[in-house]
Symmetry: C3
Subunit: 257 residues, 3 copies
């Protein structure tokens, strides 16, 4: 049965997309559980990093098209499907206060690629396969899902991906700006990246992610409160520890305070 | 004599820049005919893709500088030349409802590169040559033409291209984000890409292009009408055909309805 | 003793970051002198290009962290440090009317990388090292400094750089969009680029830089006065010289008038 699985080791949580026999294609229940799962992870400040992966050596083949006849066949259903199910899940990943790493093996297509794009870092196997071939299904990328793709790969690559509808490999995905890096052993590389993220000060990580979300794609002026909040780490134990460790040429130990 | 040539095979139209002996440099008449030509192509919904190329193994050397003494030598003339001639042509390509592919051999310089940038995909020969060396002519890129370059290659590459005024090859153009891909046989590769575009649902192609134009470089909120229009394909025959073909593991046949 | 050194050869000025024994890390006095130095260079219209480099085969290791206990340990100090010292220096480089080239050898870390990002072109040695590992110091990139990084490398690379806090080499920096090019002999390559910039019409160079600053990251409509100013070169001696030289197939000689 389809599910979103959750596990945790130390300060690193792992979210696993699971839909056996369907390359982890996401049905409505999975989209909804993905949202609630990330909302819960975001509220847990003992975490320092989240990894998203798929079961059985596949990331996700996209949305579960077998459902489309019943859940996405009218204008009203379509808007609800993309707003309530997909949109809420992607927003929950993007707004999760912790850094989120996509660990990508196998297919990373359509909605699967959109999940990867909503993450902060994307590490993929050379054999992973990418694309949004929805022109073969007869529809366009939903307007609420377009900005994330545009922000990541830019106008030219977004046009190529959507107009040609090709499926392409990890080397081409790197060239298009879709990937942080390619690694032979994706679970190990994702773990290594997560540990590296977790070794930084948690407040700095959350603030960097929050400011980048706030200031991209367009840098609207910050309010005075937001500006002050951006400098709040100067009052933290971790800042004093970080500077002291740097000057003593030792590794800092951060507590998140 | 200089001209813009138009031909058609099936649902794919080809626009050819032609100015023999001048590497297809565009004079005012060509800029104007380019605009009217694309306006007409855009209105023909039996088309699925447009290819732009140049005659005799060259794309275009830019604007016809021999004309500058008579048509572009005062502030008033300059503004008219860039607004009415160049601006209207580039806008007509960008706003053409069909996907447009630039097939680039030989020189792709100045105004020629701007035409390529206004297209949706750019396929070039390894031996093609690119640049905007107008600092050697003593003027800057017109403000109306700057955003398209910035959107395609970003601030850093735009500064490099305009401040150094170098002419560079296809490998460097790829690295700067100017090209979709490099191909030894450009006409064949452009044809292959056009056929691939034409195999998708036409409504999806037009909608993807329209939404990307609408949402980049800045994602202004859509109106309710625009939002509904983005989901209109859900009511189309092609959507039902696309989903049915996917589930039956066969190739869909789209009619544009 | 720490200093900002200034020299000049013909129409090319060189600004050298110098803090012996500290890999040219910038203390407050250096940030402030960097700003006044660039303000003065910007006012000198006999210049055509500025090169920024560091002394002794290093660019700059960042801000001088030894000062942080006294100059950057409260919210008020932090805001002043980033606004008055760093912010003013980076703005002065960015707003300098002349093209500015960063010549990068050795470390180019933290504030050093931010100086490089404020320049128009960045030429680096293969052995140069890049990064913003401030998550190890316990704070986030200041909000006023985030847009420049986002504009140069985009959201995904900015997240990777700040969340992982890794130090990386020039090849990776190129891939992230941080560098114009890599060169074995950086001083020679920077000189060559500066000479090339200086061979173009000065008014065109200044106008291209000004328009790119004006139109990126977001293209706000120009005022009528700005629009007219963008076409002002059409009335210049250099424009007539540029077109005449092109048609005569000779090298133009520009005077800046």
């Amino acid at each position: 049965m389809s599910d979103i699985l959750l596990s945790r080791t130390g300060s690193i949580a792992t979210v696993t997309l699971s839909n056996p026999g369907k390359l982890n294609a996401l049905d409505i229940a999975m989209w909804q559980k993905l949202a609630t799962c990330f909302d819960a992870l975001s509220a847990d400040l003992s975490l320092r990093c989240v990894i998203v992966c798929g079961e059985n050596g596949q990331f996700a083949a996209g949305a579960d098209i077998e459902e489309f006849g019943t859940v996405r066949s009218t204008l009203e259903q379509g808007i609800r499907y993309h707003t309530v199910a997909i949109g809420a899940a992607l927003a929950a990943i993007n707004n999760c206060v912790h850094p989120v790493i996509a660990a990508i093996e196998g297919v990373c297509i359509g909605g699967g690629l959109e999940i990867a794009c909503a993450c902060d870092l994307r590490i993929a196997s050379p054999a992973a396969r990418f694309g949004i071939p929805i022109n073969r299904l007869g529809f366009a990328l939903a307007p609420g899902e377009m900005p994330a793709l545009l922000q990541l790969v830019g106008r030219a690559a977004a046009l190529e991906i959507l107009l040609e509808g090709r499926v392409f490999d990890a080397a081409e995905a790197v060239q298009k700006g879709l990937l942080t890096r390619v690694a032979e052993d994706v679970p190990a590389a994702a773990q290594q990246s997560a540990l590296r993220v977790a070794q930084g000060a948690p407040m700095a990580a959350r603030l960097n992610k929050q400011l980048i979300n706030r200031l991209s794609p367009v840098s609207q002026p910050l309010t005075a409160a937001e500006h002050d909040a951006a400098f709040a780490p100067l009052g933290s134990d971790d800042y004093r520890e970080g500077v002291a460790a740097f000057l003593a040429k030792r590794t800092p130990v951060f507590t998140g305070k």
